[in-house]
């Protein structure tokens, strides 16, 4: 009896059912009104063409913005638990947090100085 594996198998099955189910349901239930924007690879944000292989250039600004967002996103992930447990953690954690935030700001400074924020 491989008892420990039964839950694993169960999870596997559940995952499969969910994936197949949601795709299937959207096929059946979803409205089908196609237009130009709907047929793009990404419905919002970046224009995926022209292709780099054709010698054209890909607009990078979208990615830059996305990455800058991640910088601050990650920061907030740590700031929330820090704020919650602030009293328990004491001075040590405060210093750690300051160091962490400073490190993140270095990346920000780099992006700023090297023209990553110039939208034109």
């Amino acid at each position: 009896m491989n008892e420990p594996y039964v839950p694993v198998l169960f999870m596997l099955g559940l995952g499969f059912v969910f994936a197949a189910g949601s795709v299937g349901t959207s096929l059946v239930v979803g409205p089908k009104r196609y237009n130009r924007a709907k047929l793009e690879a990404y419905e919002c944000g970046i224009q995926p063409s022209p292709q780099a292989s054709g010698g054209g250039r890909v607009p990078i600004k979208y990615y830059l913005t996305a990455m800058l967002f991640i910088i601050f996103d990650v920061e907030s992930i740590f700031l929330y638990p820090f704020a919650v447990a602030f009293n328990q953690l004491g001075l040590f954690a405060l210093i750690e947090m300051v160091l962490f935030v400073l490190t993140v700001f270095v990346a920000y400074a780099y992006v700023w100085r090297r023209g990553g924020l110039d939208w034109a």
Binding site: N2, E3, P4, A85, L89, V106, R113
Partner: protein, 540 residues
């Protein structure tokens, strides 16, 4: 099911104890990398190269001094001892193998940075494209280089990679190991794509390395998850304890977990069958980066493999040893046999590095402190030789570009006896001829394996010896070509001839140091062998 559940963390917050002197090397390297980013942001363009290169070298040397200081502060650090369960939850293990690897990587890093800094009269590092983001051959690229753009970001990137590398053999838990793996890998993916010449090959290398590297990281992560499921902890010591006390029916988690974690690490050392990226990446990456990767990544990854094999999974050895033996055999055989057919110098050394990874694995499989010492020694000696070898390759040029095809090296010994002599000597070292460090390294590894590896060790050594005989043929062929071959198309056309450019003092220095150390460790190896031997004890 009881042992599966994670043991609860202490209810009260317990501040982790940190020995700052013990982790000083890590802090210095990381700090210098951060400062490097600031330098990129605030220092004017025309002074960046000098500032960055100087900062990196000084930082690495300072970190090396810090390693010597840290040797007095060995032990587990950055974590807590849980009073209730007596578990030692520490993120870093500052012990002999870790410090030895750190020191090795830092010194190799100095040589690597010095070769990367080679400008050959240009404004920026010669091996790197002035504008990595532009399409190869596009007008944008031409404009960028005409405007004097330069990629001095390579220095902070290298420092971040080195930070990951010295963290890798030091981490005491799987999560830390994964973080280190990523920190060392990501800068390398970028660096591989920045070659100034043959941009498409370089970008292809970068993409391949990234995709396969991401895959292997995923394997590592999956394996860690399985091991966590098995032992309820990421800390290596806990996993080891769990294996020795855990129920046998849980081996369904342990075996695939151990195997997947090893896959992630073996990918980094380019063990067969996880080696497919190596020749392409070694060929496509800028040559100084290739040398740096070959020397330092290997050292770091073997440090991590040692810790995993000797501290984390030691108690479950019988579960995974056989798989690792097969991998070591395959690595030696495939690496040496395929190196025979190579016609490109960088690919040749790539396959040779695969074979060398196999030899080092033989030492890992000795399961003895002698084996650990031998592995440490091997990795260090190989690193110095390979950095110098790639530095020499970067100097052999035709029409301004690197002449890496073997036929272009024909007759080099007649016109450039000194450079060819140094390269031939390094080849002899890779072949393991006595009076070079390569011999002492192979000897240390093989004698450790025969001594404590039992019958398997003997088989491994016999195969290893045969494989090194095969590789001798490869290196001998290069030497023959350099000294007795006729220069290609000897038409007297001076502009088209293969030439050795005269490097600046930095590259000369790293070639000279690499070669001299290779000789010195071949003649009087005892100092470093002793150091490696004394550094072969892990803390748990």
């Amino acid at each position: 099911m009881t042992s599966v559940a994670p043991q609860g963390l202490p209810a009260v917050f317990q501040q982790s104890t940190i020995d700052y002197l013990a982790i000083l090397p890590l802090l210095i390297v990381f700090g210098v990398a951060i400062v490097g980013v600031l330098v990129e942001a605030f220092v004017p363009r025309d002074r960046r190269h000098m500032v960055q290169a100087g900062l990196a070298v000084v930082g690495l040397l300072a970190a090396f001094v810090a390693v010597i200081v840290a040797a007095k502060h060995q032990g587990l650090t950055m974590g807590i001892t849980d009073g209730a369960s007596d578990r030692r939850l520490f993120a870093l293990a500052i012990d002999g193998p870790a410090l030895f690897m750190q020191g090795t990587i830092l010194l190799l890093g100095v040589l690597g940075v010095l070769t990367m800094a080679e400008r050959l009269g240009g404004v920026g590092p010669d091996a790197f494209t002035p504008s990595g983001a532009s399409t190869p051959g596009s007008p944008f690229e031409t404009n960028a280089s005409r405007a004097g753009a330069l990629t001095s970001e390579v220095f902070p990137l290298t420092m971040f990679a080195i930070f990951g590398m010295i963290l890798f053999p030091t981490t005491n838990d799987l999560i830390g190991m994964f973080v280190a793996l990523e920190v060392l890998s990501l800068p390398l993916y970028i660096l591989s794509g920045l070659a100034r010449r043959r941009r498409l090959l370089s970008q292809e290398a970068s993409l391949k390395y990234f995709l396969l590297g991401a895959f292997s990281s995923a394997f590592f992560l999956f394996g860690s998850a399985l091991l966590y499921g098995y032992s309820g902890s990421f800390v290596l010591g806990d996993i080891s304890k769990a294996i020795s006390t855990g129920p046998i029916e849980m081996n369904g988690l342990l075996v695939p977990g151990a195997f997947l974690v090893f896959v992630g690490l073996l990918f980094k050392v380019a063990a067969v069958p996880f080696h497919a990226w190596t020749p392409d990446v070694y060929q496509g990456a800028p040559t100084p980066v290739t040398g740096f990767m070959a020397a330092c990544t290997k050292a770091a990854a073997f440090g991590a493999i040692l810790r995993l094999a000797y501290v984390g999974l030691d108690t479950g050895r019988w579960e995974w040893t056989n798989a690792l033996v097969v991998i070591a055999l395959l690595t030696m055989v495939v690496g040496s046999v395929l190196s025979v057919t190579q016609t490109d110098m960088k690919r040749l050394l790539a396959y040779s590095s695969i074979a060398h990874a196999g030899f080092v694995l033989v030492g890992v499989l000795a399961f003895d402190s002698k084996g650990v010492g031998a592995v440490l020694f091997y990795v260090a000696t190989y690193g110095f030789a390979i950095i110098a070898a790639f530095a020499i390759i970067s100097l052999v040029r035709q029409n301004g570009g690197e002449a890496t095809h073997l036929s272009q090296w024909a007759g080099l010994g007649k016109r450039y006896p000194l450079v060819a002599g140094a390269f031939a000597f390094l080849m002899l070292a890779f072949a393991g001829i006595p009076a070079t460090s390569g011999f002492m390294a192979k000897f240390a590894v093989f004698s450790a394996a025969v001594g404590t590896g039992g019958a398997t060790g003997t088989v491994l050594v016999v195969v290893g010896v045969l494989c090194s005989a095969i590789t001798v043929f490869v290196y001998a062929r290069v030497i023959v070509l350099m000294y007795f071959g006729d220069p290609p198309g000897d038409t007297g056309d001076a502009a088209n001839a293969v030439e050795v450019v005269v490097p600046s003092v930095t590259t000369t220095f790293s070639i000279a140091i690499g070669t001299v150390i290779t000789l010195a460790l071949g003649v009087v190896p005892s100092a470093l062998l002793d150091l490696a031997d004394r550094a072969s004890q892990f803390v748990r």
